[in-house]
């Protein structure tokens, strides 16, 4: 058994809540609802709401202010509601992240003359720094490059509690360029994960703010990989030196959807603190915490050793290289012609 872990800012994170019905009843759908002044999505039903990456205070067990206004219907007459809610009192709180645990990712640099503020952090001009964002040799999908053991239904460590792989994540791109060792050299597979937010701990689900970009959620994920064959074993001994990531200019190539990369570097080079880009020595910084990734993998190992965490067999595989699934850009079409 090999346990893997990752702890970094992950886009596509959010949570569903069912807060219970008020008396008289109120239908949030079609109205406006806020949790601590953060707008939430109400379009699913009467009292089910969806919140983007700001569930931190709820997870910490703090009271949160719910305010709601709606148009009122015959069966749901109430039009206005203001109350405190607490995660322990509401019916369900379900973390459902549509795209987590990216299998490899870009290294962000800035070729322009100005500082840029990105979801990859603050990137200084003229190749002033390079930011990367995966746990490398410890990252779940980099230890199972062809999705031989991780699939729909795989039980995982999620935010300090237990969760499951629900589906392949959005933008899942199994056909991405791979090395001879099978390891993707570009952003490739992703996971959609689901779990009971009530079990999770604020330590492993951290509200995160990227200056000039916006908020996201730093999520702790750990995935066990059973060594079922020599082939799987070979994949799990992958080291940082074997994993290459593309260096991308976030001042021009990334925002303009240009495919150009400035080269490839290994995670061993990234972790050394400096990489070479266009002949220049560039200091590196990480957005993903390796220290915490190791801690997650160790916690999961302990759970398994104590028999508290039993492994599951996937009920369906994630789409693989042969699936034909690719990550497509939006094809814009003129309206009304």
């Amino acid at each position: 058994m090999v346990t893997t872990g990752t702890f970094g800012p992950m886009c596509g994170s959010g949570a569903f809540f069912n807060v219970g019905h008020s008396k008289p009843r109120m239908k949030f759908g079609g109205g406006k609802v806020y949790l601590n002044d953060v707008p939430v999505y109400t379009g699913t039903a009467a009292v089910d709401i969806f919140l983007g990456a700001t569930a931190k205070e709820l997870v910490a067990g703090k009271d949160v202010i719910l305010t709601a206004t709606a148009f009122g219907t015959d069966c749901y007459p109430r039009k206005k509601l203001e109350t405190l809610i607490n995660i322990k009192d509401i019916n369900e709180a379900i973390l459902f992240n549509l795209r987590n645990a990216y299998q490899n990712y870009n290294v962000a640099v800035n070729l322009s003359e100005k500082v840029i503020y990105t979801y990859m952090g603050v990137i200084k001009p003229n190749l002033g720094n390079a930011n990367y964002s995966t746990a490398g040799q410890l990252s779940p999908l980099l230890n199972d490059p062809y999705y031989k053991t991780i699939g729909v239904g795989t039980k995982i460590f999620l935010g300090g509690g237990i969760g499951y792989v629900a589906w392949h994540g959005t933008q899942h791109d199994p056909a991405a360029l791979r090395g001879d060792n099978g390891v993707p050299r570009r952003g490739a597979g992703t996971l959609a994960v689901i779990g009971d937010l009530k079990q999770m701990k604020p330590e492993w689900l951290v509200g995160t703010s990227m200056l000039g970009y916006g908020c996201t959620l730093t999520v702790g994920i750990g995935v066990p990989i059973p060594i079922l064959s020599e082939e799987i074993l070979r994949y799990t001994v992958v080291s940082d030196a074997d994993i290459l990531a593309p260096v991308v200019d976030y001042s021009e190539a990334y925002p303009q959807m240009k495919p150009d990369i400035l080269g490839e570097v290994s995670y061993a080079e990234l972790r050394s603190g400096r990489i070479k880009v266009q002949g220049k020595d560039v200091p590196t910084g990480s957005l993903s915490s390796y220290l915490k990734a190791v801690e997650i993998a160790s916690i999961l190992k302990k759970w398994i050793e104590k028999g508290e965490f039993l492994l599951t067999e996937p009920v369906a595989p994630l789409p693989g290289v042969e699936s034909g699934i690719t990550f497509k850009p939006l094809k814009e079409r003129p309206i009304g012609e």
Partner: protein
């Protein structure tokens, strides 16, 4: 004996137009190195600097500043890390101009060296989990 200390000076609006630092040099023979300054005429000013000189003169200089109405704070506590929020990701390392952050090679824990910090505040904004706090 010579001393060298990092201090934060808060200037009330009425003295931001006076040549206070110049008098530290002329009258007390002190040397200074400005680490951060935000002084606009007519508004409250802030100066972070390293002040050095003979201890006797240093104390006289501080007395002069206090009497002139300048509020003095020692620098050591000004940028602090909330250990409960820090995830040890390392986004601060390349942002810090004085290399106050470093990775412990074995554990990859992010270490913060207060002594190297010049309170520029760059890390405060760049820290993704908002663990760096500016205390003024």
């Amino acid at each position: 004996m010579n001393v060298s200390r990092r201090i934060v000076l808060h200037f009330p609006p009425n003295i931001t137009e006076q040549p206070v630092v110049y008098r530290l040099v002329r009258d007390f023979g002190l040397t200074f190195n400005i680490l951060k300054a935000s002084v606009s005429p007519g508004e409250e000013g802030l100066l972070v600097m390293e002040l050095s000189g003979e201890e006797k003169n240093y104390n006289k200089g501080i007395k002069y500043l206090t009497e002139a109405g300048v509020e003095i704070q020692s620098l050591s506590q000004d940028v602090v890390r909330d250990e409960s929020r820090c995830t040890h990701c390392g986004a601060c390392i390349t942002i810090c101009p004085t290399e106050a952050f470093a990775l412990e090679p074995r554990t990859r824990k992010v270490l913060f060296d207060h002594n190297k910090c010049v309170v520029c505040g760059l890390c405060v904004k760049a820290c993704p989990p908002r663990a760096m706090i500016l205390n003024f």
